[in-house]
């Protein structure tokens, strides 16, 4: 078994411009580039050599330079994000993305939940104002990169939707069904697209 210390000792650190090998021996992976049939590093990081999968058309291993410094999280299609509703309109609601999976975002990303993406059934009868309110915390899936301004988000799954909401009285509401939440102070119910949180 390889220990962590051995791994560290074997790790090769690369900086931009370093020659990694011949382009005939390796496929240039992420963090590298090819110039005159030679593969060079383009990033600072640790060198990795990834063997080709058996049966692949190209049997050369690919060479990669992976960064050790983590960037802020960026939403990708398919990710589950946590967002805060900013504005609710008749056909869509806009939200500010705060977390991607478990990681908080560093920059500002906006998302929109369109009317047809709020729930899975009866999608043409959705009332946006009866699904979200400004200030609600929602869990949503990233559908696509959307337009230039915002990501397209979807809450059309049982486990997606509003996870936390404030009532008019100012208390955190308790979910009572998949369409309603109740205020513990006034016992008033408000309509929401409620997420089924495990």
């Amino acid at each position: 078994m390889k220990t962590k210390a051995m791994e560290d000792a074997a790790a090769i650190y690369r900086t931009p411009g370093e020659l990694l090998g011949s382009a005939f021996d390796y496929i240039a992976g992420t963090g590298t580039y090819t110039f005159q049939n030679k593969v060079y590093a383009s990033l600072v990081g640790v060198q990795h050599i990834v063997e080709a999968r058996s049966g692949a058309a190209d049997l050369r291993p690919s060479i990669e330079v992976r960064r050790e410094k983590q960037r802020g999280a960026i939403p990708q299609p398919g990710d589950i994000v946590t967002a805060k509703i900013a504005k609710v309109q008749a056909r869509m609601a806009s939200a500010d993305i705060v977390c991607v999976g478990q990681r908080a975002v560093k920059e500002k990303f906006t998302g929109t939940v369109r009317q047809q993406d709020v729930r899975a059934t009866e999608i043409d009868k959705v009332d946006m104002h009866a699904s979200f309110r400004p200030g609600d915390i929602i869990r949503a899936e990233v559908l696509s990169l959307g337009d230039a301004r915002a990501y397209y988000l979807s809450t059309a799954k049982n486990e997606l939707g509003v996870v936390s909401a404030m009532s008019v009285a100012g208390a955190t509401m308790v979910p009572i069904s998949w369409q309603e939440m109740q205020c513990p102070l006034t016992n008033q119910t408000e309509p929401r697209k409620v997420a089924k949180v495990e």
Binding site: P16, G17, Y33, Y40, V44, K69
Partner: protein
């Protein structure tokens, strides 16, 4: 003025082909995507890189490549005489342009279309060779930000005073009125990306001075690589501790 003593030593005690002490730190500004400080003797500069990020001004967006912007400024306390320096004066606009062009030639801009990279460089202490120090700091900050580059860019200056080529001029030598050659090189590709000279020099001497500056830049690059590898090693070990 006598710039080299009879013993062959310069005003600050260096030999003609000796560089000043180098020192670099990475990740000095938490909010920036990449940052670095770079010291060459008493010259100290800090560089911060933001991006690749969305283009702020849509009309400047480039469809095929990244937009690189650079801003150079000098701190009021950077020189002996305290003076308010704007960032819009002739000298800083010119240096901003020089840094931007040098960095743009190193960055693989075609990999980051429709995005913007901002480089901010500030001189904290000026003692000659600020141009070189700024380029070195900016290159380190870009590497720290994880922006793909063809090669590191390293820069160094050389001059010619008292019939001797001198490497890495300090402020007094710089004000000596002799020629000052600044080069920016791609050390591994062995190419020059920047070459500037003020005043005149015969061609045979120029070649000597240029070669000296290039050698200096390559030595600087070697130091920069060392620092980057050291930084990666620290990040790897920090992550190793988190894994358990």
């Amino acid at each position: 003025m006598e710039y080299i003593s009879p013993e062959g030593l310069r005003l600050d005690g260096r030999r003609p082909m000796e560089m000043r002490q180098l020192h670099a730190e990475l990740g000095v500004i938490a909010k920036a995507d990449g940052s670095a400080t770079f010291e060459m003797g008493n010259t100290k500069v800090v560089a911060a890189v933001y991006g690749p990020r969305e283009v702020q001004n849509r009309s400047q967006q480039l469809q095929e490549q990244a937009l690189v912007r650079c801003e150079y400024s000098m701190a009021t306390f950077s020189t002996g005489e305290r003076r308010k320096r704007g960032k819009g004066d002739r000298r800083s606009t010119e240096i901003s342009l020089v840094i931007r062009q040098t960095m743009e030639s190193a960055i693989l801009t075609h990999l980051l279309p429709r995005s913007q990279i901002d480089i901010f460089v500030q001189v904290l202490q000026a003692d000659g060779g600020t141009r070189s120090a700024c380029i070195n700091a900016a290159a380190l900050a870009l590497a720290d930000a994880g922006i793909p580059m063809r090669d590191l860019v390293a820069s160094c200056a050389a001059g010619f005073l008292n019939n001797t080529p001198l490497l890495d001029l300090n402020y007094t030598e710089d004000s000596g009125g002799g020629p000052d050659v600044t080069v920016g090189v791609f050390p591994k590709l062995d190419k020059i990306s920047l070459l500037q000279m003020d005043s005149k020099l015969p061609i045979d001497l120029f070649e000597k001075v240029l070669e000296l500056a290039t050698e200096g830049a390559k030595a600087t690059a070697e130091y920069m690589r060392e620092r980057l590898s050291e930084n990666t090693r620290q990040l790897v070990s920090a992550r190793g501790l988190l894994r358990f």
